[in-house]
């Protein structure tokens, strides 16, 4: 309920803002987000990021003089609903471009629609590598894929002489993908995997997996999932009273909501962040402040990803001076630019290759940047 209130406030804020280029026909960008359902927390962050970019770009006379209008519909975190929404966006609303929904699961479901209608779709809420292994020509990744999420964490594990890793992952596309790459990186770093355990997405009680990891004398516990899995694992560890040397949860801990839900149990948990205001990328701090002004809260990296998605599209269109989809698509594939989340550049499959990740750790109620070492705010803590 408080989330809905925030959304309505945001909408009112955006409607009320000054739109100097309203006279021209707007360029429309369609998207669905799980504003309700299991992905609601992160989807809300993406929503706010998109809308903030929409406000900012329209304040600058839109793109090529045309106002920008983002049509976002709630897919209730359901792939089937998302498919229907994207079909409607393409055939009825006839949007010019598309933003992908949140999660690799739902993004994988809607990509064929974009492909069928040959519309560039910017992916700011999904990271499974397999999304770019299907040969789609319109899928543009905004941020680093899952294969590189744990790179920094693994370095930290080596540096602190840890070796035995247990992996617990949900069975959704992103989580499975991430777990696979954790194993790969572990091999590269010559680390041992002592256990890999999968569970059904949405499972609340993760104690059995935690117990099993403990049983295997794991020093490092890697949880591959989203916010819920991160929170549930933190609670499970508390319940079985086990504190591995290091706990990593892929998505969730980078957001304030994780700490809000876990409190002290969030302590020492590592996670990957795809954007941090302290990274000092161009516009990052302005975005940070504007976000707080607009929503009275600090932005997580998901909001930054959404905002960066808008920035990338704006730069591609501006570069070719046209809204022609094919021209814009070619520009996106050749674009090498800076956004608030870092450098943008994709390979020939559309997968992001130039953006970098960060590793954060909750230390004494604070989200500290612990990797890369050059910009870390605190030393990583291992138990």
């Amino acid at each position: 309920m408080p989330r809905l209130k925030t959304i309505l406030l945001a909408l009112l804020f955006l409607i009320g803002c000054h739109r100097p280029c309203a006279a021209m026909e707007p360029v429309t960008i369609g998207a669905s987000l799980g504003l309700s359902g299991r992905f609601a927390t992160i989807a809300e962050a993406l929503f706010k990021g998109f809308k903030l970019w929409e406000r900012d770009v329209n304040a600058k006379n839109g793109i090529l003089g045309r106002p920008v209008e983002i049509l976002i519909r709630d897919d209730q975190s359901d792939p089937e609903r998302a498919i229907a929404i994207y079909r409607r966006l393409v055939t009825e609303d006839k949007v010019d471009f598309l933003f992908a929904p949140y999660s690799s699961l739902i993004t994988e479901a809607v990509l064929p629609i974009a492909e069928q209608h040959d519309i560039p779709i910017l992916i700011a809420g999904a990271a499974a590598d397999r999304l770019w292994e299907k040969g789609y020509r319109n899928a543009i990744g905004i941020y680093t894929p899952a294969s590189k999420f744990t790179l920094g964490f693994m370095e930290l594990v080596v540096l602190h002489d840890l070796d035995r890793i247990a992996i617990v992952h949900a069975d959704d596309l992103f989580s499975v993908d991430l777990a696979t790459h954790v194993q790969k990186w572990a091999a590269r770093f010559a680390l041992r995997i002592v256990d890999v355990a999968a569970f059904k997405k949405g499972l609340m009680n993760l104690e059995p997996m935690a117990l099993n990891a403990r049983k295997k004398n794991a020093q490092v516990l890697v949880v591959c999932g989203h916010m819920n899995e991160a929170v549930n694992m933190a609670k499970a560890l508390k319940k079985i009273d086990w504190q591995p040397s290091a706990v990593y949860a892929s998505v969730g801990p980078a957001l304030q909501g994780f700490y809000d839900q876990c409190g002290d149990d969030a302590e020492s948990v590592f996670a990957t962040s795809l954007w941090e205001p302290r990274s000092n990328y161009p516009g990052a701090m302005q975005f940070y402040r504007a976000y707080i002004d607009a929503y009275q809260e600090s932005p997580g990296y998901h909001a930054g990803l959404a905002y960066a998605g808008g920035q990338v599209l704006e730069k591609a269109v501006t570069e070719v001076g046209s809204f022609d989809r094919e021209k814009v698509r070619r520009a996106l594939f050749n674009l090498d630019t800076m956004t608030i989340i870092g450098r943008f550049g994709v390979d020939k499959t559309g997968k992001q290759v130039r953006q970098h990740t960060f590793i954060i750790q909750w230390q004494k109620g604070r989200k500290e940047l612990v990797w890369p070492a050059q910009i870390k705010t605190a030393e990583p803590v291992f138990k």
């Binding site: 294969s147 590189k148 790179l151 693994m154 370095e155 080596v158 540096l159 002489d161 790969k184 990186w185 091999a187 590269r188 770093f189 010559a190 390979d347 020939k348 499959t349 290759v353």
Partner: protein
Amino acid sequence: MTGTFHSLFNRLPLRMVAPVVIVIGLVGIGLYAFVLRSVSEFADLQIREALNNTASEVYNICDENFTELMQSGKMDDRKAIRIKKAFALGAIEEYADRNKITCRVMDEGSGKLLVNQMEPELMEAIAKTHAEGRVTPFTHNQTVRYFRHFDFKTWGWHIDLVKEMDAYAPLITRVKTAYVVTAVLLFCAIVLILQLQKRLLRKPLNTIIQAIRAGRPPEYKGVQEFEFLSANITAMMQLLEERNQNRLMLEGRLQKAQKMEAIGTLAGGVAHDLNNILSGIVSYPDLILMDLSEKSPLREPILTIKQSGERAATIVQDLLTLARRGVAVSEVVNLNTIIVDELKSPEFENLQTLYPKMKIVTHLEKDLLNIKGSATHLAKSLMNIVSNAAEAMPDGGQISIATENRYIDFEIRGYDHVEEGDYAVVTIADTGIGIPDTDMERIFEPFYTKKVMGRSGTGLGMAVVWGTMKDHNGYIDLVSTEGRGTTFRLYFPVCREAENTEETAYTPDDYKGQGQSILVVDDVATQRDLALTMLTKLGYQVATAASGEEAVAYLEANSADLLVLDMIMAPGIDGLDTYQRIVDRHPGQKAIIASGYSETDRVRTAQRLGAGQYIKKPYTLEKIGLAVKAELGK
């Protein structure tokens, strides 16, 4: 076998299609050799180069990480080395994924696989082609792959890279597709060509050929060129048909002419012998009568003998006419005169007596042009036709005789073939029983008659008509319908000379000699004796020679004012050779020629050498007397 192949190869469709197929085949081979192979070779080179570049890039990844490690001063930091190696391995794997390369990195020291994207079977396959520093192609799972191995010795890494040809597969597939499409198009082109050939070439040709084989005009309609060809073939076939009919007609006519000629030759031979026999019967009565008094009881029988002889001579003359050896056509005559005279003749009167119901109607053109011919034979021929007409009307009827001048400006292909020219035409039409079709072709043959032989005529009547017409260079047209009558139309070439109407009556005194010397040369003794008697009677000094050689010998020692020279003598030299030899020794030697045969080229040659008149045996006293006197008087 060779014949079958030759026959097969000579078929029009094969000869037309074979070059097309050969060209298309060559194009196909050319495409394969120069395009597809070139593309494959290009792809091969490109992949080798790409794999070499990849190896270089992978080496650079290792090298960069190692360099960074060196520069960080942590070469002795085990953890730092481990991290750098991990980063390098991650980058290598990512690079391999991005470039669709299968990669394997093995730590040489521990034998551990640090990166392994290869299936065991693939690893076995590359083990066979393992070679340092160069790209080696090999086939695995029916796919062509390229293998490249190198070492990053600093870290003791043994690196294998495998790349499939699929980077250029779309290009090769496209070229192959283009090749297949081209092959299909070329095949379609062949089919189309065959169809067009069938429709526009073979079908029209077959239509034309089948019609020709069936012996009918093609009459093809459709393709313009074949229409033209068909029309020409049709025209040619019609022309050939006409020519064939003409040829058959001419052959028929030739056969008829040859038959007539053969019969004539036979008749001529008989006539020659009969002439010699008849000479005595015709000539001696005159001599005897000269010595008999007017009141002699022998005079009447001798006259009868003479007349009988003359009638026999007439038959012989018919035979000679038939043989076309007896007609001199140099006399200018008018057919109207001959017809009028003939209608007044005793023969015609006899005919009217025999056929009292016969009615004669004449339509004679007033200014009918003259012709050159023999009045005697013409009269005889006309009389023969009229007689036959009368006989064809036993119950009476009408015979119309008409003459007209007529110019024929195009050929008449009737019973006879009348050439273009000016003609005096005699038409004799009766209303008799007509001539059956079966008899039409043969009525002019000698002795071909439906009448009872010996009752009337000699059986030579119509043959004489035919011979006379041919001697006069004329033509006969005959139209007959059974039960309605027959029409003879006789075409005579006209001449523009005036008719000689003078007739002179001679007495023996007009042709008596005055003792001039005459040498009679004849191989037949009776003829020599007859001539000796007749000429002696006329007052000449007569000597005889039984052959040409004898005559020449005689004139070596003697002379003669005139020679009476027989033309045909056997054995030995004939009249012409005799005269030739005599003239050689006695230039200007006068001579007349006497022969039972008609005037021939040899007679005319002798005349050109200086010989005078030609008289035909059997001759009368008057005829030989006038001829001798005329020649001596020159």
